[in-house]
């Protein structure tokens, strides 16, 4: 027995000394999120997972987050909510109560952010989300939710300005919107803008989310000879809308969509049929947007494309901004205490690849949208804060005249 112990001693000593030599590493800062990785909205959900990951990797490579003199690595804990809002609420609850993550990152889509922010408010853990633009999320006086998507109510702001400036301006406008939180918000905000611009709203229709059949609405647009069509919906609906417009030979002078146009897979899915479509984006990969970790937005887009094989759009940029906002807040607060980080977030002000980050009193960012148009195989910036940038292709010709 004693001989065996004797043989074991050197090994034991080695182990003990190894333990003593290694300095205790600072604990990881864990950011938790429940994202739509499967399910009907997974197509856009993955932008967030990829964005969070690339941001965390890049920040860790640069030394991590420095809190009160100690550098901490960032870690991600991501759950797949299968595009089910109820599941996402349970998963956020689990992230806070069981996994005990430090801070929260948001899901995609306003209806998710709306429900999940109730969890962050309940447990008083700050959540920065870049996927929900609906004004409803920020109208409940919650203190722990912050958002990096420009307000839904102003999505068509610059588009309406542009319509006013067109020669001649459209004689009639149709406003179509899905009945989910984001699109209802968009419509509510767009109506007064159209009225103030003196444009006549000839059609104002709410349709069911995930609708597949737009034939009736398109027939009405054709019959009323509507000049400009504004559609607030999600990607599949817009794809169906454009395809059915073609098959019914409906070609208004212009149409603009709240989603899809900035995204590569949307343009690929429609091919040549995507031409002439207007959209908007609060972000373009321009070298003018400087960033502490990525250099600038252009370099970020290249890095993202190289790593994931597809172009980032504003969803991805927004996701990265969320991570950066949390890191800046932790450093400025010098602490991981949720309350202190929350207060630091409220006062945050910095430039990033997504643009200037600052949250208003309700927790929402305010960024202007730039009107973009698909012109041939290019995505052109058409109208911004200072007026026309490139000439828009207007009016849109009939489908058989393209």
């Amino acid at each position: 027995m004693s001989r065996r112990l004797l043989h074991a001693l050197p090994a034991l000593a080695l182990v003990l000394s190894a333990g003593a030599a290694a300095a205790p590493a600072a604990p990881d800062v864990v950011l938790g999120a429940s994202i739509q990785l499967t399910g009907p909205v997974a197509n856009t959900g993955r932008y967030y997972r990829d964005a969070y990951q690339i941001a965390v990797d890049r920040i860790n490579a640069a030394g991590g987050v420095k809190i009160g003199g100690t550098a901490h690595r960032l870690a991600l804990k991501i759950y797949d909510n299968q595009s089910d809002v109820n599941l996402s609420v349970r998963q956020y609850t689990q992230l806070v109560t069981q996994d005990k993550v430090n801070l929260l990152l948001g899901p995609f889509a306003s209806n998710f952010a709306l429900a999940d922010s109730a969890v962050s408010e309940k447990y008083k853990v700050p959540m920065v989300q870049g996927g929900g633009a609906s004004d409803q999320i920020f109208s409940r006086k919650f203190k722990y939710i912050f958002g990096t998507l420009a307000p839904a109510s102003n999505y068509f702001g610059s588009t309406v300005e542009m319509l006013k400036a067109l020669k001649p301006p459209p004689a009639s406008v149709a406003l179509l919107y899905a009945d989910d939180s984001f699109d209802v918000s968009v419509a509510q905000g767009t109506r007064p803008l159209l009225k103030a611009a003196g444009l006549r709203v000839a059609m104002d229709e709410r349709y069911s989310t995930n609708a597949t059949d737009f034939n009736s609405l398109l027939s009405q647009i054709k019959s009323k000879r509507i000049d400009a069509v504004l559609v607030a919906g999600h990607e599949t609906e817009i794809l169906n809308f454009v395809r059915q417009a073609k098959s019914l030979a409906v070609a208004p002078n212009m149409y603009s969509f709240t989603v899809g146009v900035p995204s590569e897979d949307f343009r690929k899915a429609l091919g040549a049929d995507a031409d002439y479509a207007f959209g908007m984006t609060a972000w373009l990969p321009s070298a003018a947007l400087k960033d502490r970790w990525f250099g600038d937005a252009e370099q970020f887009a290249q890095a993202y494309q190289a790593k994931y094989g597809y172009e980032p759009d504003y969803h991805a940029a927004s996701g990265v901004a969320d991570v950066e906002a949390l890191v800046q807040a932790m450093e400025s607060a010098g602490s991981l205490d949720p309350q202190k980080v929350r207060d630091a977030l409220a006062k945050t002000r910095f430039d990033s690849l997504y643009g200037p980050i600052a949250f208003n009193a309700h927790g929402q960012i305010d960024l202007p949208q730039v009107v973009i148009q698909i012109q041939g195989d290019k995505l052109a910036e058409v109208y911004g804060a200072k007026g026309f940038i490139t000439r828009p292709k207007y009016p849109m010709p009939a489908w058989n005249a393209r």
């Binding site: 009907p40 349709y207 069911s208 609708a211 597949t212 059949d213 794809l239 395809r243 059915q244 019914l248």
Partner: protein
């Protein structure tokens, strides 16, 4: 253009497609007394099969329909023979439960195999349209409608005049008597279910040319097919066609006169009314 005429045409074309989606469900329900809650999931599989045929092998979606239908027939035969035959004599709602379970499994496997991305079958002629006086007819929908009519007529003739069709109807009426006539029920049940799924597969191929497909379309499609089958009556493929047209027109008119978000209220509201007042459907024999 004439708006009302266009809306009616839209409704009719939509209705034809609805009808072919529901044919398989009505057949299996009326004959085998199997209420297939997974029916929509099989339509989804048919759509994906057509998509792969078109994208990977360049087969035109309409020409590829027989292949899709055949593939789903085999699947249906195997499923009935291997699984569903085991619970045929159990209380009715066991089939509801088991097919619901199948729906969950199929959707999950589809999402695993095909990812959640949306796809569409977009042959070059899909965006074309014909102008016919005051209305515009989208080409893809018109073709789908044509196929729907052909399939409905084919089913009706088959059930009425062919030996196999009559054997199937005999089995539905009276299992014991059918046995006495030398009909092998297990095989016949499997053939019927296979036929039902073949129809679903063909419907899926058609659906893929007019709409986006993803693994989750099954549930909504099943609900629609239910409404159509009940409204039209389970006994007769022509009844299902009438049910489909009826629903398509009602939905289009509701969208025009009430609002797009009320289309479902109309369709399911009518379903409830039909169930309360005349459960055998508009064309079915009185119960």
């Amino acid at each position: 253009m004439n708006l009302l005429a266009q809306i009616l045409v839209n409704g009719i074309l939509l209705g034809g497609l609805y009808a072919v989606m529901a044919q398989g469900l009505a057949l299996v329900w009326g004959v085998l007394n199997i209420v297939n809650l997974a029916h929509g999931a099989f339509i989804m599989l048919g759509a994906y099969a057509s998509w792969y045929l078109y994208t990977d092998l360049g087969v035109d979606p309409f020409l590829g329909l027989p292949v899709t239908a055949a593939a789903l027939f085999v699947l249906g035969y195997a499923l009935q023979r291997g699984l569903l035959n085991l619970i045929v004599r159990a209380p009715m709602f066991n089939t509801l439960l088991i097919t619901f379970g199948l729906e969950v499994v199929l959707t999950y496997l589809a999402q695993l195999a095909f990812s959640a991305d949306f796809r569409a079958i977009n042959p070059p002629y899909a965006g074309n349209s014909y102008a016919l006086g005051p209305v515009t007819l989208p080409m893809a929908r018109l073709a789908a409608f044509g196929v729907a009519l052909a399939l409905t007529l084919g089913m009706w003739l088959f059930l009425l005049h062919s030996r196999l069709g009559r054997a199937i109807r005999a089995t539905a009426q009276n299992l014991v008597a059918a046995r006495l006539y030398g009909v092998e029920p297990r095989h016949l049940y499997a053939v019927t279910f296979g036929l039902g799924l073949a129809l679903a597969g063909a419907a899926g191929g058609l659906y893929g040319t007019v709409s986006q497909i993803n693994p989750y379309i099954g549930a909504t499609l099943t609900a629609k097919c239910f409404a159509i089958s009940i409204i039209g009556g389970l006994d007769n493929p022509l009844g299902v066609m009438v049910g489909g047209l009826f629903l398509g027109i009602i939905e289009s008119l509701t969208t025009l006169y009430v609002g797009p978000t009320f289309a479902d209220v109309a369709s399911f509201g009518i379903l409830v009314l039909v169930l309360f007042l005349r459960p055998s459907g508009l064309l079915g024999r009185a119960a």
